[in-house]
Amino acid sequence: MSERAYAALPGHALKRVRMGGLEAIYHTPSGITHLLAEPVPELLDALDAVGTDTFVTAERLVAQIASRFDLVGDDPQERPEQVLGERLAELAALGLVRLRAEA
C-alpha cells in the first residue's frame, strides 16, 4: 500500500498572520484566504522546520512534534498519527501542503 507523505509549500506561497488563537492564511497561488485554528498553524510550522522539499509521513511528523504537543483525538483509541494524517490530508485538499504518495 502506498503511504502518503507531505511537505510544506515554498515560503512565498503562503502569507500567515496570527489573530488571537487563529491564523489568517493567504494562499498566493489561488488567492484564497483561510482562517484556521490550532493545530493547523503548528502543523505548518512543523513541516516548515523539516524543510520545504522534504516529504514526511504523518508517522514521522508525529515523532518530530510529539515532544511539543499532546496529540490526542476525540476518541482515545485513535492513534496520533491517524489524527495527524487526517488533518494533513485536509490541508493537502485545500492546497496548503504538498502531497506525495510513496510506494
Partner: protein, 300 residues
Amino acid sequence: MALAMRHACFITVGPARFRIGSDWRAPIDELRALYADYPLDEVVPDFTVRLQATSALRRYVRPQVAIAGDFTLPDALPLPLEQGLLAAEMAMNLQMALGWRRHLLLHASAVSRQGRAVVMTGLSGAGKSTLSALLAERGWRFLGDEFVLLDPDSGNIAPFPRPVSLKNQAIAAMEREVDDETRFGPVLRDTPKGTIRHLRPRTEWIEQMARETRPGLLLFPRFGFPRAVRRMDEAESFVRLTQASTNYVALGERGFDALTGFVRSVPACAIDYATGDEGVELVERLWSEQGAKWGDRAAA
C-alpha cells in the same frame, strides 16, 4: 457602444472622479445642487455613469431611468424619473463597489477626531450611516457614510464624504439636528428603500476630503437594541470585514495585507444602542478610553 448623453456633469468625491450622463436634465440639476460644494471640474473620470431611458419611447411616455455605466448588475432596476437622483447615487455606489482598485473598500461609515478615525460597519439598516451623520454634527470630522477607503500601502483612510443617504425615521432625526435646510436634498418617497433624503456634509469636511487619516477604532453598531458593548477579537473582526468589503477578493494579496494590518492595528467592539444619543455617547466613551491608551503610549 458609447452613448452620447444629452446632459452631463462631473463630480469628484475624495480620490474618485465620476462623470454622470443622463437623458434628462432633472437628475443632473439635482446632482449639481446636492454636490454644489464638491469639485465639479471637467476631469478624466474614473467612472462613467449613465442614466438612460429604458427605451426611446419611454423618455416621453412614461419616464424611467435605467442605471448603466462601466459596471452593471442585472438587477439594477429602472426607477421612476423622480428618483433619478437616487439612481445616480446608486450607480456611483455600484461603480465604486465593483470597479475601485486603489483602496480596499469597506462597506462602512467613518468619522475622525484628532487625526484618528472611528470606522463603523454592519449590515444595511444597522444604523452606521445615521450614527456617522450625528457624530459629524457634534464635532467629529465626517469621512463617509457608505464606503471606507483603506490605503493598502500606508494603512490610512482616504475620506469619501458623499452626501449621507438618510432613510425613513433617520430623516426626521437629522432634520432636528441640522438647522440649515439648504444642506438637504429633495425628499424621495416610495423608493425601493422607503423614503430617502440626502444630507450634504458640512463644507469644511468636503474641503478637507483629500486629507487622509489614521484608523483608531473599529465598531460594529446596531441601532434599536438595549445598550450593550462587546469586545470583538481580531479573527471575528477580520471575517466580518472580508464580508463587508466589496473588493477584498479582487485586490488579492494587497487586500489581505491591508485588512490584516487594519484589524491588528485597531481595537474592535460591537455596540448596541437604543437611541441616537446613546450611540453618540457610547462612541465618545470608547473613544476616550482608547484615547487614554494612545496618550499613555505617546508618553511612554
